[in-house]
Symmetry: C2
Subunit: 398 residues, 2 copies
DNA sequence: AAGACTTTTTTAAAAAATTTAAAAAGTATT
DNA sequence: AATACTTTTTAAATTTTTTAAAAAAGTCTT
């Protein structure tokens, strides 16, 4: 049996939870005997289990198959510049160990890679999960990442060795890394509001403004893996200075971080808002969360600031629509929870800055995964890369 | 024999001119016996011929195969808003009939579709080529085009029937239409400087500024076929009014048409230039060509105007690089012949407006096909769509 | 409640594709 | 010129996949 098909079936079962032979036959465009044989082998291998019977619309009810949840696990890690979340999921995407959030600063931290390795090792040791049963670790992180070479050019420096090799050496796990926005897009594609869509732009609203692109039903990474560097497109000629050194970048105009900074400055200048207490003395990143809370509770000033940011995001999205003609744009990431507030000014900007015939063909959606997206996406990354190289699969299938 | 493989081989032979069985085996990932059988059938069908022997690096020399040039032909049509070029090519991409250029205005012309049908019919009748030997017609045209439905939403109106159906009815030919910029990209991908590249943005410098996108080695059209609508991205807040009704569009700032208009205005205001004579009383579209000629001959004013436009194009390309991370950007279309002059300010703008790590990974190339691109692309369009539905193929293969 | 109809699954036979091995054709080196 | 080495072609054997038919399981209508 071509083991390739067997791993493909495992992947599909992970994404769809359970399927009948008939459904798999239709999806893989292979005959039922071929699918049936592969599934029976997977059952013999101990990786797949027969489930119940699904309802039928008038005919024999199909036997459903799914992956055995507790044979293998995935370690998922979602990092931002300040903190790292970590969890373990089973093969049916349930967390089998409490998600932990640990402070880990990436900026100017030469030791960050080894700190990350320690975090991973400690977490596994305390989880009660056998290390040998962990299929691989998926890690989402900010920065310019070359997925094939396993390198992050921006953060987590490792001397003379790739980040992936470094982490593999220090944890003994198979490691996959990717950009945070790419993983959020993957999570929306496989388990979120973009499920099964072909052509979707997923916006990661956070401390920057990221973009994960779904093109022809798969994640598009560009020539070097840097596609979707949306944060730093030139948006205005005279805008504020950006961390990247340039002026007028989208990020410097409309990211949640900048909005929070504006809020702090505004309040210092005497602006009346419920934020006066909550923002006092807080760092601007914490302030960002406080601001979004306040906006959702109806605070006028917070809404005003988000509206302003939304309009600028909308202008950038107009450009994106003109270039990509996507079927959907999804507002995701930690900013998704103010998605409703942002929607109105975004739509306004789309009307102003784009050709109607184009804009009407793209729907604006708000993620239901939100802040969990990156963690889910890290698990998806592992399963997308599933192949016969993995030791656990090899051992089971052999 | 799966006829699918046979048409795939025909396509590949058209794009590559000649190939050995071994090369095809490697490309299609099929065994040599399978390929060999298909090729021999194609020879028996009268569509393919054995060529000479290719050189070898120490072993038996391979027999090369190619399509018989004169069994089938492709009608190619390249339209712009003012004029239409038409030609017929054989299966080895040689013109077998002189290319003709005919005035045909698309703007506010309700009769344009039927005029086009007449142009096509007359041209074939005068060409000496049997109509039954024409595989299909490929037509490139400006406008918003839905390739699948065969509709042009902008130009060539046809009441109650799609443009493709209309033309098929009035010419008896199989018709394929596509956006001019898409076809230019196809020509660069198959026969031009982007040959065999995976990830290329082809800029169609003309009366507008079009974009044809090569993503993962194929033409990317977006959800509705409108991807690459580069002309109307919002570039500056206070720019000139665009034909689309908006303000500050790239097209309104940097297209060859706008540059020509600026030149005419400048000269009226007494600006000294060799253009003074050539631009007198000319329409601005003719002026565009005159201006490019003058620039290539060293006229300072023309170069100055192109430099200004180039910088703005460069700013837009910076955005494109940030989003797509392409391996190459190709300057193509009628403006390609001033590509060298535009390159410098484009590079300057890229340095100013993009993140170095991104920009260094994209090379800026100048098309060698230039103005012929759209005609070649129209032929490529036909061959990309080659399938068993075509009567000629059916007759030969049956 | 019985029979007709659907849908899924299994089985066996047929068809297709690929691999393998060997022969043929041609180069290059000694 | 002979031998060793490469590549292509041919033919046979093996493997894989598809097809078709029948069996199994169940739903729905009368």
């Amino acid at each position: 049996m071509k083991t390739n098909l067997k791993t493909d079936i495992l992947k599909k079962l992970y994404f769809e939870r359970e399927l009948s032979c008939n459904e798999m036959s239709a999806f893989f465009k292979k005959s039922i005997p071929v699918i049936s044989k592969a599934v029976n082998e997977l059952i013999a291998d101990g990786l797949v289990a027969e489930g119940g019977l699904a309802p039928s619309s008038g005919g024999r009810r199909p036997v459903m198959y799914s992956i055995k949840p507790d044979e293998m696990y995935i370690l998922t890690v979602a990092m931002d510049q300040l903190s790292t979340r970590i969890g373990i999921v089973d093969m049916q995407n349930n967390y089998v160990s409490e998600i932990k959030m640990i402070e880990l600063h990436l900026l100017n931290n030469n030791d960050s890679a080894s700190q990350l390795a320690t975090i991973i090792n400690n977490y596994i040791d305390n989880s009660g999960i056998e290390r040998a049963r962990i299929l691989a670790a998926g890690i989402g992180m900010p920065g310019f990442i070359n997925v094939n070479e396993g390198v992050n050019y921006t953060h987590l420096p490792t001397e003379g060795i790739s980040l992936v090799d470094f982490l593999q050496k220090h944890t003994g796990l198979t490691i996959y890394i990717d950009n945070d926005s790419s993983l959020i897009a993957l999570s929306e594609l496989r388990f979120g509001i973009a499920k099964a869509k072909k052509n979707v732009m997923v916006i990661n609203l956070g401390w920057g403004i990221g973009l994960g692109m779904i093109v022809d039903g798969t994640l598009f990474r560009g020539h070097n893996g840097f596609a979707g560097e949306f944060s730093h497109i030139p948006l205005s000629e005279d805008g504020g200075l950006c961390t990247c050194g340039k002026q007028g970048c989208l990020e410097a105009e409309a990211s949640m971080l900048v909005v929070a900074e504006k809020a702090i400055a505004g309040i210092k200048n005497g602006r009346v808002s419920s934020l006066q207490q909550s923002l006092n003395d807080k760092e601007s990143k914490l302030a960002g969360d406080a601001l979004m809370d306040a906006a959702n509770k109806g605070d006028q000033y917070a809404i005003e600031l988000l509206t302003e940011a939304g309009f600028k995001i909308g202008k950038a999205l107009a450009i994106l629509i003109h270039i990509m003609n996507p079927e959907s744009i999804v507002l995701s990431g930690r900013g998704a929870r103010v998605g409703k507030i942002l929607s109105a000014p975004i739509q306004q900007a789309l009307i102003k800055y784009s050709i109607p015939r184009l804009a009407v063909n793209t729907e604006l959606l708000i993620s239901e995964l939100g802040f969990d997206g990156e963690l889910i996406g890290a698990a998806v990354l592992v399963m997308e890369n599933l192949n016969m190289k993995s030791k656990i699969i090899q051992a089971a299938v052999a």
